[in-house]
């Protein structure tokens, strides 16, 4: 390298290319690709639901029409039939995806904010702070999850916000323990000592020096945890503790279809399939990410 080159000011490499390379890596795991495709499918459905030529999910037609029946008023086709109140199943499933994804995202974000903050603090500061935070987390984890859900919803009443609170209570302690473990490992690194010896504050070290380095395992966990939260929200709805009717919701749809049994199987099968594909998508994506991150 000549001197003139050494003295020139180099240009900042593009962030966009970095992102593209990250996505390209995902191709290495077809498993992960498949999962991501499933998740992406539902995310796109949720986003474009208002643009699709769908029936109003609350509008009633003839009840329990089989798959592919023409609507009685000739306005179109019930591609996936209608339910016991005559509502279009396709429309409800697609609108339901929006609802489940929105609430799951809010719940996960809340759980992660609480869990990560607690975990970073407990892991970095240690001592009695760690003792208290870890004890509280252990108490919460020792409750059976379902019992905790029922207790919280029973106290606070069934609503979207309360679901978020319930999910935060059950998920944050687990996230906290993962983060705490990661941080306890990372805090012995020399770059942390370097930050300490130049007098950085504990907050700076925790959230600027340490947390970004815990992101790998956390992203994998986030995917898995997303799947679990979707299950949790559906379970709560199924138990009648979830989002109040009549808005479309997969758990609720399954619950309402149960009495029908095999008489009108599609009414239960469609939301159940939607639910499983979404969860499967998250799990496979998590596995794929883990597989990629373990390779060099």
């Amino acid at each position: 390298m000549t001197d003139s080159q050494a003295q020139s000011t180099p240009a900042m490499p593009s962030r966009f290319m970095g992102l593209l390379r990250g996505i390209a890596l995902m191709r290495e795991s077809w498993f992960g690709m498949f999962g991501a495709a499933l998740v992406l499918f539902w995310v796109i459905m949720a986003i474009i639901a208002p643009l699709l030529p769908l029936y109003d999910p609350l509008q009633s037609f003839t009840t329990l029409e089989p798959i592919g029946t023409e609507a009685f008023d000739g306005s179109g086709t019930h591609w996936l039939g209608t339910d016991n109140r005559g509502r279009d199943v396709l429309s409800r499933v697609i609108w339901g995806s929006q609802r489940v994804l929105i609430w799951a995202s809010i719940a996960i974000v809340c759980a992660y904010i609480v869990g990560v903050t607690m975990g970073v603090i407990a892991g970095y500061l240690g001592g009695w702070i760690d003792d208290i935070v870890s004890f509280a987390a252990n108490v919460l984890i020792s409750f059976p999850v379902l019992v905790l859900y029922v207790l919280i919803i029973a106290f606070l009443g069934a609503s979207g916000v309360n679901i978020v609170i319930a999910v935060t209570f059950t998920t944050a302690p687990i996230v906290m323990r993962i983060v705490r473990g990661l941080i306890m490992d990372l805090r012995t690194r020399d770059y942390v000592a370097a930050a300490q010896t130049r007098g950085e504050s504990a907050w700076y070290i925790m959230f600027v020096e340490l947390l970004p380095n815990a992101r790998g395992p956390l992203i994998v966990d986030l995917c898995l945890r997303f799947g679990y939260t979707v299950v949790a929200i559906a379970t709560l709805s199924f138990l009648g503790l979830g989002l109040p009717p009549p808005d479309p919701d997969w758990g609720l749809m399954i619950r309402e279809a149960v009495p029908l049994g095999t008489y009108a199987g599609h009414v239960m099968l469609v939301p159940a399939l939607a639910l499983s594909t979404l969860i499967l998508g998250f799990n496979m994506m998590a596995d794929g990410l883990r597989e990629i991150s373990l390779r060099d």
């Binding site: 000011t9 490499p13 300490q196 007098g199």
Partner: protein
């Protein structure tokens, strides 16, 4: 040697299959090992030396394969053996000894069971026989008290003892070939010296053939008969120890010797000559000679054309080198007289340490402890340290693991606070001031270069902003543009290209990361920099360059350098004064030349003798210490070194702490032995004929 060779490799080539496609890891490796012979494979990381070892055992992992050549073990082709036969060969005929002894032993089994199962499985020996032989072999590897060792679990033994047990396992199987892959890298120098002696004894006593893999030329010289120097997957030079160390022929081998500090070198009169550039990545190897881009004798059109063959140097000698210009290069003529550097003026006192103490309390919560009232015990990490460091001076703190050198660094940096004594930086007491309580100018006056290059930079942030952050904190400079320009200047100083500003740490090699670490430490114009083993994790050629860089920056900035190390060769080379520590005590301190010549403290003497020396013109007196480092939890009552001291006087050493005596101005020794007796001790090193004869 008429005997049939134990092992023969013929033109062995090994490749790995990765994302980048097929990567040749080893190309055209040939060697022959006879019974009782020790061959050494030396090279820097990534040169393929461990891959060779794994290939000998036909153990290539999932993505590796032997793509050419043969491995013949006692005349049989290893590739043709069935899985069952291969298993038998691996267990009982070839034994492998790895770097990390603890990982080689099963932590949940007693040593007895691990040893006895070998003859019981391979030779159907009875339990009594197996026990007998296990005890015998433990005695053979010079473990004290074999009975106790037999009943111990691996964690109850020290690293050196564990490594001896692993070697014993290999011998117990009557292995005819021992493959030792960096067997002492994880051990302390004085323990290493014992293992090296053992390895040398074994080949003589049991007639075992050995393959010794190491990055350390000094160790190779002390253990091996023949040596193979590898570079980037190829053997570049092969020869007997005498031939190769006296008359290295390949430019790379020559370069390696220029990178190692030997006891006859000095930072001002004979500076190290680092090899420029860095090892090419396996998929970016150049055409022709792999060493071409780093070689001073490179001739375009000749060196970068065809594959270079390994050529015999003299008709009657087994000395080979892979260099096309072999006959043309005159190393003696080419060796420019070493560039002399002016010694620095040593200025006023920067740091003064006076009877500094650091104890860590250990709380005993057991019922026994509470009943006896002894609830708190202390780990005495530093006991009464006193020394001073002056402006522009390099002070080295030397000692083995557990000697308290890192604890001292922590107290100095304010990560811990002292228990007693005083620690003054530029007349200000800082021993009791944690870093958060220090004013910014005092923090910037004292910075640190860390040991592990893979840890020293935060992998999540780009290089530039990490340095900029330091400048921002110490100077209050906020202007983004100014900050960036300042970082560019620092990158120029540490000889890194400016576009490293935008690199991520993972895109940097170990040496480059260490350079960034140095830039970061010097960013705030510190009065003093603490360097904690800054080059111990780097390859020889890179370490030399980083050492020289550190020295050059110090010359420019007149910074005081506190160099913490266990490597006495480097310490002797670059320091002005030395502090020798053992178990929290200062055993000896003074000017480097005083400490490295008699009178010695017996510990310094042993430490000096333990250092492997790569220079064949230096002879050293051999002192091998018995026993292990005592635990800091339970140190000896009198002199800390009394349990291992070869010059132990008697009860006085065991019971009374030794006095510190000044033997010359500024040179003091902490020992009970009268100074007159210490003065009679012969020097550890004697320099043979200094004239290096050329070929």
């Amino acid at each position: 040697m008429a005997e049939e060779p134990v092992l023969e490799c013929r033109n062995l080539s090994i490749s790995y299959y990765t994302r980048q496609g097929e990567i040749p890891a080893v190309i055209d490796f040939s060697c022959t090992v006879h019974p009782g012979e020790t061959i050494g494979i030396v090279g820097e990381s990534g040169c393929g030396k461990s891959t060779v070892a794994m290939a000998l055992m036909q153990h290539m992992g999932t993505n590796g394969a032997i793509v050419g050549g043969q491995v013949l073990f006692k005349g049989r082709d290893m590739a043709e053996l069935s899985a069952e036969e291969l298993r038998r060969v691996r267990g009982s005929e070839v034994a492998m000894i790895y770097q990390e002894p603890f990982a080689s032993l099963n932590p949940s089994m007693k040593i007895r069971n691990q040893l006895m199962e070998i003859p019981m499985i391979h030779e159907q020996a009875t339990e009594a026989e197996a026990r007998e032989r296990a005890l015998q072999i433990l005695a053979d590897v010079q473990l004290p008290d074999p009975q106790r060792v037999m009943e111990a679990y691996p964690h109850q033994l020290s690293g050196g003892q564990q490594q001896r047990v692993v070697i014993a396992m290999g011998l117990l199987a009557n292995a005819s070939l021992l493959v030792l892959d960096e067997p002492t890298t994880a051990l302390d120098v004085t323990v290493e010296a014992g293992i090296i002696k053992l390895i040398a004894d074994i080949s003589r006593k049991f007639n075992t053939a050995q393959i010794y893999i190491s990055h350390n030329l000094g160790l190779i010289r002390e253990t091996c008969d023949r040596v193979f120097v590898m570079y980037s997957g190829e053997v570049v030079e092969e020869g007997t120890i005498d031939d190769l160390f006296q008359h290295p022929q390949h430019p790379y081998t020559h370069g390696l010797f220029g990178c190692i500090a030997t006891p006859s070198m000095d930072k001002n009169a004979t500076p190290l000559k680092p090899i420029r550039g860095q090892l090419p990545l396996p998929h970016e190897r150049p055409q022709g000679c792999n060493f071409g881009p780093r070689c001073d004798f490179f001739k375009a059109g000749r060196c970068d054309r065809d594959v270079i063959p390994l050529e015999r140097i003299l008709e009657d000698r087994g000395h080979y080198a892979r260099c096309i210009r072999l006959k043309e290069i005159d190393h003696d003529a080419a060796a420019a007289p070493p560039e002399q550097k002016e010694p620095m003026e040593i200025g006023e006192t920067v740091l003064s340490v006076d009877r500094l103490q650091k104890y860590y309390p250990i709380y005993d919560y057991s019922i026994k402890g509470i009943l006896k009232g002894e609830r708190v015990r202390y780990v005495k990490a530093n006991e009464s340290l006193s020394f001073t460091a002056h402006r522009a001076e390099t002070v080295a703190i030397v000692g083995e693991s557990g000697c308290g050198k890192s604890t001292f660094a922590k107290v100095l940096m304010g990560l811990e606070t002292a228990t007693g004594g005083s620690l003054k930086l530029e007349e200000t007491e800082i021993g009791y001031q944690p870093v958060r309580k220090r004013p910014p100018e005092r923090i910037s006056a004292l910075q640190m270069v860390f040991q592990n290059p893979f840890d020293t930079l935060n992998p999540s942030h780009r290089v530039g902003p990490q340095i900029a952050r330091v400048i921002e904190r110490f100077t209050g400079m906020r202007n983004k543009r100014q900050l960036r320009d300042k970082v560019f200047e620092l990158l120029d100083i540490v000889k890194l290209p400016r576009d490293f500003y935008y690199r991520r740490p993972r895109q940097l090699s170990g040496g480059q990361k260490q350079r960034v670490g140095i830039a970061r430490a010097f960013a705030g114009n510190p009065a003093m920099v603490v360097a904690d083993e800054p080059v111990s994790a780097l390859d020889v050629s890179v370490a030399a360059a980083v050492t020289e860089l550190l020295m050059d920056i110090q010359r420019e900035s007149h910074t005081t350098l506190l160099f913490i190390s266990h490597d006495l060769s480097t310490v002797r080379y670059l320091s002005d004064s030395v502090v020798v520590m053992y178990l929290g005590w200062i055993m000896e301190r003074g000017k480097t030349s005083d400490v490295f010549s008699p009178p010695y403290n017996p510990y310094t003497e042993a430490l000096l003798s333990a250092v492997p020396i790569a220079d064949p013109n230096i002879r050293k007196r051999e002192i091998v210490l018995e026993g292990n480092l005592p635990s800091v939890m339970n140190p000896p009552k009198g002199c800390p070194f009394s349990t291992r001291c070869p010059r132990h006087l008697g009860a006085i050493c065991d019971n009374e702490p030794p006095p510190e005596r000044e033997v010359a101005p500024g040179h003091s020794i902490t020992c009970h032995i009268p100074v007159e007796d210490l003065k009679k001790v012969e020097p550890v090193f004697s320099f043979g004929d200094k004239t290096k004869t050329g070929t």
